[in-house]
């Protein structure tokens, strides 16, 4: 019998942390002697819909989907996949689709909580802070929701004076937003950002304005690490994408090989103990692609 084939459906390979998940997933499958194919939606949900259909057409044994937008959109093709007997795994949730076997979640809540506790401590729990969020989609919203929850719980005296959105969530967009925040709020003590790109942009704005404002990022990506190394970003938390992808690959392999039983309802797991990258720890930081041997899925 042929080796089983897994179809991996990426949301956007060009995003560093996403790529780390897919590559780690593929690396793990390869280790287990399982074949894989990869298709990238490049954030176009319409394309992802047809890619799911395409994998089903090709007769893969399982698919792993990282939804490239609104999960509702892929319900139709996922149901078609299930009907065709294809096992469905996912990175991130696919609400509305019940038949996912294993779902690897991003540690968004912990990222929000850790960064909240950090800002609480560093600001002394009083004063003004601002947030740079991104587009309001559930996978990302968990970050700022759990951040504000953490602030309310730990230091209610901290005043969140502004919540802006960087769309797209990159350094170039975030920098002028941060510049305006600094102009509007001369007393501001910290800027929380939802990712490392915006963090770098905001931090450079702070530096250029000659102000003393705490800036944090999330994800532990290249740009966040650069910011910390440059001494402009105060901290960022790793989201361990390589572990997410690798752990998922092992669970998939076990099921495909019959070593483990397919769970009767969706098994959800996520990673914990996210390391902080700040001036003290940054020497230990490793780029995602140095953490595991990327098979180079595309």
């Amino acid at each position: 019998q042929d080796a089983p084939v897994v179809g991996i459906l990426g949301a956007n390979y060009a995003i560093e942390s996403a790529r780390a998940q897919y590559e780690a997933l593929a690396a793990g499958l390869k280790e287990q002697g399982i074949e894989f194919r990869f298709l990238d939606a490049q954030l176009d949900i319409n394309r992802q819909v047809s890619q799911i259909d395409q994998f089903v057409n090709e007769g893969v044994d399982a698919i792993v989907v990282n939804v490239a937008g609104d999960p509702n959109a892929v319900l139709g093709p996922l149901n078609r996949a299930e009907e065709a007997g294809v096992m469905v795994f996912s990175i991130g949730a696919t609400p509305g689709f019940e038949a996912t076997l294993v779902q690897a979640d991003l540690p968004s809540e912990e990222l929000g909580r850790l960064s909240g506790e950090y800002i609480c401590a560093e600001t002394g729990g009083t004063g003004q802070i601002a947030m740079i969020e991104a587009i309001d989609i559930p996978v990302l919203a968990a970050r700022w929701d759990s951040f504000t929850t953490a602030i309310e719980a730990n230091c209610p005296a901290l005043d969140i004076v502004a919540r802006e959105r960087a769309i797209p969530d990159d350094a170039a967009t975030a920098r002028p937003i941060a510049e305006n925040l600094l102009t509007r709020f001369p007393e501001i003590k910290a800027i929380w950002t939802m990712g490392d790109g915006p963090a770098l942009g905001a931090a450079l704005a702070v530096k250029s304005a000659g102000r003393d404002v705490i800036v944090t990022g999330l994800n532990g990506e290249e740009q966040g690490a650069q910011g910390v190394q440059q001494g402009v970003v105060d901290a960022t938390w790793d989201m361990l994408p390589v572990q997410i992808g690798y752990q998922l690959s092992q669970k998939i392999a076990a099921i495909l090989k019959g070593e483990a039983e397919a769970p009767s309802e969706t098994e959800v797991f996520t990673v914990t103990d996210l390391p902080i990258w700040s001036a003290e720890t940054i020497a230990d930081w490793k780029a995602y692609d140095d953490r595991i041997d990327y098979p180079g899925i595309q």
């Binding site: 298709l39 490049q42 949900i45 587009i135």
Partner: protein, 324 residues
């Protein structure tokens, strides 16, 4: 010297002319299809072909509307945002308790009105520059979609009619593809056989001449933007059905450029006065088959931009070669 009788084969020159016009991209399409058929086992499968058509029916419907605009010597950059807003409107109407079919009708009508009144009104009756107006609308409509939905996709899963339009089947044939074909046929017929259609060519070819010939140039300009918006409205319903939800943020982003590329590949030009819906169909098919072929062949997604760019240039190069 005084032979004014009609030529024996009246379609002769027209056929040749038509071939000349489409053969460039048409030939590229044929070559592409032949190449993919030989190299990709899955390419010619019924399911793959339907997958191609289904995925691109939205693009085709939008491109059909845009054909009118480009032939009239205009451009509508707002069709992508209009499609996104249409989806948000539809979801909002449905969730406000309006039944599916009236909500669909209302969505399409609202889009048509919006595009007609603002784009068409300002450009035709206000004499505004079409690029600036529709660029402004690109931003404005996307903003409106975001504000209305707060950026959150709303599910339309509970309304089978919407799903049927976007992803249903009639006798094993996808409904969105049928809608696209129907739209294309109507568009073709209107451009070819109605006074209005010919007026669009006349206005695009020489506005002064059209005005002097008694054509109401402003009404024609108004109408083409309304038609583009109408098609965007239909596309919005199809896309929402296909994705079972509205997509305020990324829905149909960049659609205006793909549609414009398809129309231009199909033989229209910004100089106005030329182009047909049939040509646009070839243009859309070309882009569609290209994208499908690239994924089938497993070209890394990074390379897809490069490949698309190269093939686009190759397609118009072929077109140039044919013409000289």
């Amino acid at each position: 010297m005084t032979d004014t009788s009609l030529p024996a084969t009246p379609t002769g020159p027209r056929l040749a002319e038509r071939l000349r016009r489409h053969i460039g991209v048409g030939a590229a399409l044929v070559i592409l299809i032949a190449y993919l058929s030989l190299t990709q086992d899955n390419f010619l499968r019924y399911s793959n072909i339907m997958n191609i058509l289904r995925t691109n029916s939205v693009l085709f419907v939008v491109s059909t509307g845009l054909t009118f605009v480009i032939v009239s010597r205009g451009l509508d950059l707002s069709v992508g945002s209009m499609t996104a807003l249409g989806g948000v409107l539809l979801a909002a109407l449905l969730n406000a308790g309006i039944p599916a079919w009236p909500a669909i009708g209302l969505t399409v009508m609202l889009c048509t009105l919006l595009g007609g009144l603002i784009n068409g009104g300002l450009i035709a009756y206000g004499g505004f520059n079409f690029f600036v107006v529709t660029l402004a609308m690109l931003q404005l409509l996307r903003g409106a979609a975001l504000v209305m939905s707060n950026g959150i996709p709303e599910s339309t899963f509970g309304w089978p009619a919407v799903q049927w339009i976007g992803d249903g089947q009639i006798a094993g044939f996808p409904v969105p593809v049928l809608i696209a074909i129907l739209t294309g046929l109507i568009g073709y017929a209107v451009m070819r056989w109605t006074k209005f259609g010919r007026s669009v060519y006349a206005v695009g070819g020489n506005e002064t001449a059209a005005g002097l010939a008694g054509i109401d140039v402003r009404r024609v300009r108004f109408a083409v933007y309304a038609i583009a918006a109408l098609c965007a409205g239909i596309a919005a319903v199809m896309l929402t059905g296909r994705l079972t939800s509205s997509q305020p943020v990324s829905g149909a982003a960049g659609l205006e450029l793909s549609a414009a590329a398809a129309v231009l590949l199909g033989g229209a030009s910004f100089a106005g006065g030329a182009g047909t819906v049939a040509g646009t169909a070839i243009g859309v098919l070309f882009l569609a088959v290209l994208a499908n072929g690239i994924t089938l062949a497993g070209v890394p997604s990074y390379w897809q931009g490069i490949a698309t760019g190269l093939v686009l240039i190759a397609a118009i190069a072929l077109d140039r070669l044919r013409k000289t």
